[in-house]
């Protein structure tokens, strides 16, 4: 039999065509990175752009994202250092990312002593090409990736590669803080984290931009949690209210390893975010905690995937959201148990507070199971504050305003309480308060 190669029509996102890609390559970088980009670009042009008829995009029209207006920032240059921020002291390494450059700042010798690599992808490709080759666009990504995954693979303009060697316990971990302030610019960050066998580490991310700046981010993260490792990622997203984001994040969790992943979303005008974890080795576990608050005219769409590709695995997901004013949220969750994934425990909960008429939250939990002998539960709730709880607090002298605040805060507390860093808990509380007041 002969195979006939079918020529698919070339499909590119506005402004991100062949010529643009050639210009990206012309910026020059290591062979391993160029090869990966070229491979990705082929996929990118062959994957159809999403439309509203795709189930994933049914509630979030792709045309909400003004890609045509956004200019890709040139590959961010690395600079020696950037100004300090109040929470830097909590970490051993701080990476500051701005539109005109980024700095990797070691605050002490800990990372070096432990043999931890915190490198830009460009540096990593020079120093550890075989690791980059293995993990960038590696096994964490799904076989059939979507348009924006391939787009990020081909066009990323800021890349990080973090490697924590076997058995290393990195207690204080690192902070990556983004402060973007260039109008009509696009940041396409790529992060690869490899937590080696039996290692333990925590990474915090803080994403910020001023409300006045119109800007777009299309990040992608690949998290590799090797056998017996324990890795925590806390991502606090406070992009300004005039910004846009399309995210695709993937975690691969090997035998007896544990991934604890927090996604805390307050910002953007429009965002579409996908977070997927695969508990891929027996005894592995993923805890996914999320929190989101869409107020004003914000539109936030989140899709989570809890993939169980191995037997004897555990995943627990708790996403709590509030919508207010004409805010809109979409939560789609999917538990996927692959054939043979028996003795699986999978839990998915999405609770939503709808704080006024005119605000809207859609919650679509789901299961896709190709195995038996598993314990699965999924559930969601939607509703305003409970009048009995409100009355109880008011009967103790709290004003209606304060009682509402306490209840909304309390609603989120189950997630906030688990966040490992106190200062992030504080910022989260402040964000919730501000959203309630506005």
């Amino acid at each position: 039999m002969t195979e006939v190669a079918m020529e698919k029509p070339v499909d590119t996102l506005p402004g991100f065509d062949e010529a643009h890609f050639a210009a990206v390559l012309a910026q020059g970088e290591s062979a391993v990175l160029t090869a990966k980009r070229e491979e990705a670009f082929k996929d990118y042009v062959n994957i159809a752009s999403p439309t509203r008829t795709d189930e994933e995009w049914r509630r979030t029209d792709p045309s909400l994202f003004p890609i045509a207006d956004m200019k890709r920032l040139p590959n961010l240059p690395q600079v020696e250092s950037l100004p300090e921020s109040p929470w830097d002291a909590e970490f051993d390494v701080v990476i500051a990312v701005q539109a005109d450059g980024f700095a990797i700042m070691h605050r002490n010798g800990t990372a070096a002593e432990l043999g931890i690599s915190v490198l830009s992808l460009a540096e990593a490709a020079e120093q550890k090409p075989e690791l980059v080759n293995e993990y960038l666009q590696g096994r964490a990504l799904p076989a059939n990736s979507g348009k924006y995954e391939a787009f990020n693979d081909a066009f990323w303009n800021f890349g990080l590669f973090i490697h924590i060697p076997e058995k290393v316990e990195w207690e204080k971990g690192m902070l990556i803080r983004y402060q973007m302030d260039v109008n009509d610019s696009m940041l396409i960050p790529r992060m690869v984290v490899v937590a080696g066998p039996q290692s333990r580490a925590v990474i915090a991310e803080h994403l910020e931009s001023p409300d006045t700046v119109r800007f777009m981010a299309v990040p992608q993260r690949e998290l590799y949690v090797a056998e017996g490792a324990n890795f925590k990622l806390v991502s606090l997203q406070e992009w300004g209210l005039n910004s846009y984001q399309i995210t695709n994040d993937w975690g691969l969790v090997e035998r007896d390893a544990n991934l604890n992943w927090f996604t805390l979303n307050f910002g953007t005008a429009r965002s579409k975010m996908k977070f997927g974890s695969d508990v891929a080795g027996p005894g592995s576990a993923a805890d996914m905690d999320g929190l989101f608050f869409a107020s004003g005219e914000q539109h936030m769409d989140q899709r989570t995937l809890q993939i169980h590709s191995s037997p004897d695995t555990y995943s627990r997901l708790l996403y709590k959201g509030a919508v207010k004013d004409t805010g809109r949220s979409v939560y789609q969750g999917l538990i996927i148990a692959r054939p043979g994934a028996i003795r699986v425990d999978a839990y998915q909960t999405n609770n939503n507070l709808v704080l006024n008429e005119g605000a809207r939250a859609d919650s679509i939990p789901g299961l896709l199971i190709d195995a038996d002998d598993l314990k699965c539960s999924h559930g969601s709730t939607l509703g305003n504050l409970d009048p009995e709880q409100l009355f109880y607090l008011r009967s103790r002298g709290m004003s209606e305003h304060d009682a509402r605040q306490a209840l909304i805060m309390g609603f989120f507390e189950e997630v906030v309480d688990r966040i490992p860093q106190k200062f992030i808990q504080d910022i989260v509380h402040k964000n919730i308060e501000e959203k309630m007041e506005k």
């Binding site: 009355f391 109880y392 607090l393 009967s395 002298g397 309390g410």
Partner: protein, 258 residues
């Protein structure tokens, strides 16, 4: 002056929920320093009366008035009533996950004490004393309010709140139900700590048992939204001696009890 002052005055109170009348003309006057007991069959409207005194938005007052120390409570929001010193120990306290007992008690204390707020350290000291007094476990204060509490723990929590807020007038809605004797004594201890000249109490109960610990000056029987019988210490004594069954026989409650 030895003359007793009127504290709480309820006149011809009518209240309904979703157009169903529940209270159908309640008259009740409580003088300063007095304790009154209110009994009556299930569904007669006792909790509704308690909730209306506190200002629950689910009930509409269609007629009558409630005056507290001369002030018309019906014009006030629940929190304003609380700040005047009105307190309700709920029959079924709701759980509030995510709100810790300590934080909640501090907010409630601050809200009801206007200019006499305590510094956090002073507040904590007083809270610890109250906790000890009520024989409540220390770990209580770091738990979420009523979340996962047993029935008895919830009732103790109500009393702890009462001691913290030091109200002038309290309604205790079946705080005694489901409590063992030890817990009941703790509740009585709490009440007796507040009892005094500037305190009034309305105790709603199904059982004469609690009356041995909290000695009411007056007793009322509520049936179908109306007080059908009231009496002073004679009636209380009779009830203590003859038990609550006597009320049932006297007022035909046996057909109503669920």
């Amino acid at each position: 002056m030895s003359e007793t002052k009127t504290y709480l005055e309820i006149r011809n109170l009518h209240a309904s929920t979703e157009d169903t009348p529940i209270l159908k003309g309640v008259d009740l006057t409580i003088a300063q320093g007095e304790t009154h007991a209110l009994m009556g069959p299930n569904g007669s409207g006792k909790s509704t009366l308690a909730n209306v005194i506190m200002g629950h938005p689910a009930y509409e007052v269609t007629d009558g008035e409630i005056l507290f120390r001369g002030q018309n409570l019906l014009e006030l929001e629940p929190e304003e009533r609380a700040r005047l010193g009105v307190f309700l120990a709920f029959q079924y306290p709701v759980a509030i996950p995510g709100v810790s007992v300590a934080k909640f008690l501090k907010s409630a204390h601050d809200a009801t004490h206007g200019d006499n707020k305590l510094k956090p350290a002073e507040f904590l000291k007083e809270l610890r004393e109250n906790i000890k007094y009520l024989e409540v476990d220390d770990s209580f204060i770091n738990r979420y309010l009523n979340d996962g509490f047993s029935g008895g723990e919830k009732k103790r929590m109500e009393i702890l709140q009462m001691l913290t807020l030091k109200p002038r007038f309290a309604v205790m809605d079946e705080t005694d139900s489901g409590l063992d004797i030890d817990a009941l004594q703790v509740v009585a201890k709490g009440v007796n700590k507040l009892a005094g000249a500037d305190f009034g109490l309305l105790v709603i109960t199904h059982y004469e048992r609690i009356l041995r610990y909290i000695h009411p000056d007056h007793l009322h029987v509520l049936i179908d939204g109306k007080i059908v019988h009231s009496g002073g210490s004679d009636l209380v004594k009779k009830l203590e001696e003859k038990g609550y069954d006597w009320v049932r026989q006297e007022f035909g409650e046996e057909v109503l009890v669920g």
